[in-house]
Amino acid sequence: MTVQPAMPKCWRPETKPHKFCPGCGHGLVLKALGEAIDELGIQDRVVFGCDIGCSLLAWDFFNVDSIQTHHGRTTPVMTGVKRANPDLICIAYMGDGGGYAIGSQHLVNAAARNEKITVILALNTVYAMTGGQMAPTTMPDQKAETAPYGRNVEETGYPTQGPEMVAAITREGAYVARGTTANLKQLKSYIKKALQNQMEGRGFSFVEALSACPTNWRTNAEKTWNFVQKEMPKYFKVGEKKVPGAEEKEGQ
């Protein structure tokens, strides 16, 4: 008899096993998020919004109120909910295409307005649901369906540095970090801090999670982990980018 690892309490057992591909990073990010929700005891107050892209498969993932929105539009929907009812804890969940391409104006402006919501963005360097096209975050020379010979940075620029951008445009009160599915304990602690930041009404909070897409990368388990653990961090540095109170300390 095999022993199943414990599921976070706020997961919805009726919809498990989940709908993601084998080896997909979403399950790990959502596990970290689920545990953070459990530990903070906010299941009754969370509204979970998911984008279009593979993140939409999470529309019935949790036993929390959830809204599946349009591509790139989860940030404004969650902003609208939060502004209308500030007692709710609003989480906008999306991929890198949703956050950094089609919804980038929403991300930038929600961050600039210091909206009291939490954005969690899974970065897998491709448009996965539509079949592996190049994303804003595709690595230099990485192959994708619309960059079959590898991303040419001369023609298409360099991968978007999301947390660095958000950290640059937010002011005191924001929380910004980049975690990875290769270090779930750390990722959970970032997500927890991000949610706490919202609960305390301090400001915008943003966590990017380095994630995997073996289906579109066409990689086996070993190569997948190699990419997440070794290749991605070369460009996407893991760590906290902005922590409330840090600027005051710097000034002292």
Partner: protein
């Protein structure tokens, strides 16, 4: 400061945009999300001045996509939320409104039409009819009121919130730049004193209790796995829409009984059409007046009946046949002859309509 903006019925003199802001406060709207675009800006100007005094909220967003989607979020949180837009902004607004259709969300959107396509002009136009009634990907499951004067802007803005929350279809008040900017007298009132009951808002998310423990979670989606699943959901929506249509469709008509020519118009153009028909009747001419107030759903039964009686329909609009298309679809197969009188993006005077009727009588 009094709790209510309007404590007693009174005659006032306002611009149309000011009327909308007042009506929204009187209707109990709780939050407005908006992005600047002419000619709706003063709705936001007046709302932001009134809102803090009556404990209402406002958010200026980064664009109309965001204005629409934050409005969607606002109603899902259980608040009476609205937005206002025009022209190219209305184009962007179609994306959030298609989500509102898919999830049956009671958003209220004020559209002050301007000339198109694109930036074009900002004052006189009825060129956003197709977009406001059937914009977005989907089947046009919306309610659209086309107002003709400031009294109607006040009455139907209040009504829009009630109808939206009662039937759960996104609801639009379709004005235009001319109504928005012009000053006119009207009677403002407290709707509750007039016996208008407010349909209460209800949250979609954040209801009491822990989801999965005390209650089922609210899982809202507009994505479906198989075609049949979507088909079935839509069949339910169409049924609800048809039932709603019987209760919601509104129109004004007079002198149609024995009319050879019926002048059909909507919105601001119907002001001139009304005067023209009254004038022609005084001259003893057999002319009638018909004006749908709801463009979605249209008063179909009455239109079909009329199309079986009158010899000619003169369809007058400040667009190249957008309104006519809606009418023709409803009356398909009727013997009535359709005479177009289209002046896209330009005002139409009483005299012009009288002249045209005399030409075809």
């Amino acid at each position: 400061m009094s709790e209510k903006l309007i404590t007693e019925e009174k005659r006032v003199f306002m611009t149309g945009n000011e009327v909308v802001a007042w009506a929204a406060v009187a209707a109990g709207a709780e939050i407005m999300y908006g992005y600047p675009i002419t000619p709706q800006n003063e709705i936001m100007h007046y709302w932001t001045r009134l809102a803090p005094k009556y404990n209402r909220k406002f958010l200026q967003t980064e664009d109309e996509l965001s204005a629409g989607f934050t409005t969607v979020g606002g109603v899902m949180a259980g608040r009476k939320a609205f937005t206002a837009t025009a022209g190219p902004g209305n184009t962007l607004m179609q994306e959030p409104m298609s989500m509102a259709e898919a999830m049956r969300l009671p958003t209220v959107t004020i559209v002050q039409q301007r000339g198109g396509p694109s930036t074009a002009t900002v004052i006189y136009s009825q060129q956003e009819v197709t977009m406001t009634t059937f914009g977005g990907n989907g089947e046009g499951l919306r309610i659209v009121y086309s107002t003709a004067n400031h009294q109607e802007l006040f009455d139907y803005t209040i009504k829009a919130f009630n109808v939206a929350w009662k039937y759960r279809f996104p609801t639009f008040v379709l004005g235009d730049g001319y109504q928005a900017k012009m000053r006119e007298s009207l009677t403002v009132y407290d709707p509750e004193q007039k016996g208008i009951e407010f349909v209460p808002a209800e949250p979609y998310v954040g209801k009491p209790g822990t989801p999965g423990v005390d209650r089922e979670p609210g899982h809202y989606r507009n994505t479906y796995n198989v075609e049949e699943e979507l088909y079935e959901v839509l069949q339910g929506y169409f049924k609800d829409y048809a039932k709603m249509a019987e209760e919601v469709a509104e129109y004004q008509a007079f002198d149609t009984e024995d009319a050879d020519v019926v002048v059909l118009s909507h919105g601001v153009v119907s002001r001139g059409a009304k005067e023209a028909v009254e004038q022609l009747r005084k001259e003893g001419k057999k002319v009638g007046y018909f004006r749908p107030i709801t463009l979605r759903p249209l008063p179909e039964k009455e239109l079909k009946e009329l199309a079986g009686k009158a010899k000619k329909f003169l369809i007058v609009e400040s667009a190249q046949g957008q309104f006519a298309k809606l009418i023709k679809d409803v009356i398909y197969g009727a013997s009535v002859e359709i005479v177009p009188f289209f002046k896209p993006g330009v005002g139409i005077t009483t005299d012009e309509i009288v002249g045209k009727v005399n030409e075809i009588l």
